[in-house]
Point group: C2
Chain length 220, copies 2
């Protein structure tokens, strides 16, 4: 019996390989079928190695969730951060980014839902979720405020927070259904639907946000 050849990778590289293999397995096998052996195989590694990087398989799955949320919030914070953008264009970009790849993704929403299902069961998941939610809420609030000011709308903190909560709900809900791709409507209409709805929620004049839609398409 000849032993399998292997190469030693840096700790970080091996770790992220395992985390990404975990996410891949959870996404297309489900949490219950995503066993240690299958994750290891997907990472091109033997099962015993998991315990060399994580205290247990459950801890690895938790770490994978944190890893995923870190990626997603980082992507959200990057969007609309281009300099020389008007407040309106920046807000429109943050919103619209959720309805195009890579954010709009069946894999991502599957993972997100699977992990959210554990929030009530496991406090560690609840912490990760709360953190990600809070960060996105803060980001939205920061992008909403200058728009309201520029448009001469009331922009007190309480109103901004409520609007951010509502806008976040809109984005989350549309993102989920859009990413699942149930085929009940054309997902390419989502950016326009979302921006028009956001204009309404924020009580902005028509086309304040939607006029930045074509720009989005051209740049991609």
């Amino acid at each position: 019996m000849t032993r399998r050849a292997f190469s030693r990778l840096s700790q970080d590289r091996r770790r992220t390989d395992l985390l990404e293999a975990t996410l891949a397995c959870v996404a297309d096998l489900g949490l219950d079928r995503a066993g240690a052996r299958q994750i290891a195989e997907r990472a091109g590694v033997s099962a015993g190695l998991i315990r060399h990087y994580f205290p247990s398989k459950d801890e690895m799955v938790r770490a994978a969730y944190a890893y995923l949320m870190g990626q997603m919030t980082a992507a959200a914070e990057d969007s609309g951060a281009g300099d020389a953008l008007s407040p309106e264009a920046a807000l429109a970009e943050v919103i619209a980014a959720n309805f195009a790849p890579p954010s709009l993704s069946g894999v991502k929403v599957s993972l997100w839902a699977t992990f959210v299902g554990r929030v009530r069961v496991d406090p560690a998941y609840a912490d990760i979720h709360r953190e990600g939610y809070r960060e996105f809420l803060d980001l939205l609030e920061a992008r909403i405020h200058p728009v309201l000011v520029a448009q001469g709308c009331p922009a007190d903190p309480a109103r901004c927070k409520h609007l951010a909560i509502a806008l976040n709900g809109l984005i989350d809900g549309l993102w989920i259904e859009g990413s699942l791709g149930h085929g009940l409507y054309d997902a390419r209409r989502l950016p326009a639907i979302a921006l028009a709805a956001a204009e309404g929620i924020l009580r902005l004049p028509d086309t304040t946000l939607t006029r930045h839609l074509a720009l989005e398409d051209e740049r991609s």
Copy 2:
């Protein structure tokens, strides 16, 4: 070794007992830990009986998802169906019902998320999800149209559909975050936030929907 005493229940009763036990186990153990033995114990029954009612444990879990969605859409269709309600009040009630028990529920959202996580993996889950989503979308569209007409807003089918999609997204997103109870804000403010946002999305005058809020509270 004395055998356990038991009583024979009607087929339907035993079946729903098993389905509800399945949901309970999935909600507070997670899909992977919700084993056949634990579900059976929660239903007050021995594990072997499962196979007398379902071809497999997986089929039982699928049936439990369908059962859950049936309950939820039935509850949604009941809300706002009271006679002699104005179109505006009926729409407000449908929206607000999602932000008070029993709809606003950590258990429900955990189950919902867990099952949505399987939509990509298992076509049966995708079918159930699509059906539930479509029904709620249709319900919203039916409640939106008369309001738009009464308020003299444009109400062509395409616009109604887009508005229903946006409104459904808003409700879904707020329902999820509200039900998870992360404590980032007071969930009791959700009905007001949701109704105000809905007014904006539909381009209705202020208080068209929110003025029905106090009524909601009084009737509970």
